[in-house]
């Protein structure tokens, strides 16, 4: 079933604030084959927050995660994420189109800190493979 066109422009509630610990950053760095000696998180770490927001969006719209393939991701940073940050992500559906039975969903998320200051904006294109496609 195609994703509802009326979603375009809709903003979803911010994800529950998540405190970033040194252990979170270490696990992320280690999983990508690096070694963490303290300091800022790697550039792709904010995907953890963006993914929270995407999961909430998919759940709200009853979209199966396993039918989603990532098409594109981009980040624009105001500052790096550091351990101790308390972050939340607010996702907006920016565009939606259908190609060959698949939905191409473009989202834009803002990741903000405990003071409400912008840490990074991130945009994703998600390819939703319809059942039977």
């Amino acid at each position: 079933m195609p994703v509802d066109q009326s979603l375009v422009g809709r903003e979803f509630p911010p994800t529950g604030p998540r405190q970033v610990s040194e252990d979170d950053v270490r696990a992320f760095v280690t999983a990508t084959g690096g070694r963490y000696d303290g300091g800022p998180a790697p550039a792709t770490f904010p995907i953890v927050l963006a993914f929270d927001a995407m999961n909430a969006f998919l759940e709200a719209e009853s979209i199966d995660l396993f039918r989603i393939v990532h098409g594109e991701q981009k980040f624009a940073y105001e500052r790096p994420v550091v351990p101790g940050d308390v972050l939340s992500a607010t996702l907006r559906v920016a565009a939606l189109r259908q190609i060959g039975g698949n939905d191409i969903i473009t989202t834009a998320s803002e990741i903000t800190d405990a003071d409400g200051a912008l840490v990074c904006t991130t945009g994703a294109t998600l390819v939703h493979r319809a059942a039977g496609a």
Binding site: D24, A27, F28, T30, A31, T32, G33, G34, P42, A43, T44, I47, V48, F51, D52, N55, L65, F66, R67, I68, V69, H70, G71, E72, Q73, K74, F75, A76, Y77, P80, G123, T125, R129, A133
Partner: protein
């Protein structure tokens, strides 16, 4: 910034165990990164790496080349899946080229990310400061 325009390519190996660890660390538990049957059911050739895993390795390469730089922006399209075999691993190569530093002091690194000689990211690029 004093880096040669030619950056030494970096090679990473991706295994299924890496994808399990990454799923835990990132919260991305999409089963297409763990289960061949689910991956095939949505038309993929088998388990594929998280696109963000590949991008994380590309970002690691950039931070190895420019350890002191701050990343201003980073992005890529996921144009071809990185299929990760059940046993052993698959090699990912990250090459980079510095574009002429702009007047604003930012440096653009244009990346080429390949797996078995095939590009897997479209227009991967990082913009750096400092």
């Amino acid at each position: 910034m004093s880096a040669a325009p030619e950056l030494a390519a970096q090679v990473f190996t991706i295994t299924r165990a890496d994808l399990v660890a990454y799923a835990e660390a990132s919260g991305d538990h999409n089963p297409i990164h763990q289960d061949d049957d689910v991956a095939r059911s949505v038309g993929l050739p088998g388990v594929i790496a998280h696109g963000m895993y590949t991008m994380a390795l590309a970002a690691r390469a950039v931070s190895t080349w420019f350890p002191a730089a701050e990343v201003v922006s980073l992005g890529a399209k996921f144009t071809n899946p990185v299929v990760v075999p059940a046993h052993g691993g698959v090699q990912l190569e990250v090459a980079g080229e510095v574009r002429q530093p702009a007047a604003d002091g930012l440096t653009t690194v244009v990346l080429t990310v390949t797996c078995g000689g095939q590009k897997v990211l479209g227009m991967p690029k990082a913009v750096l400061r400092g």
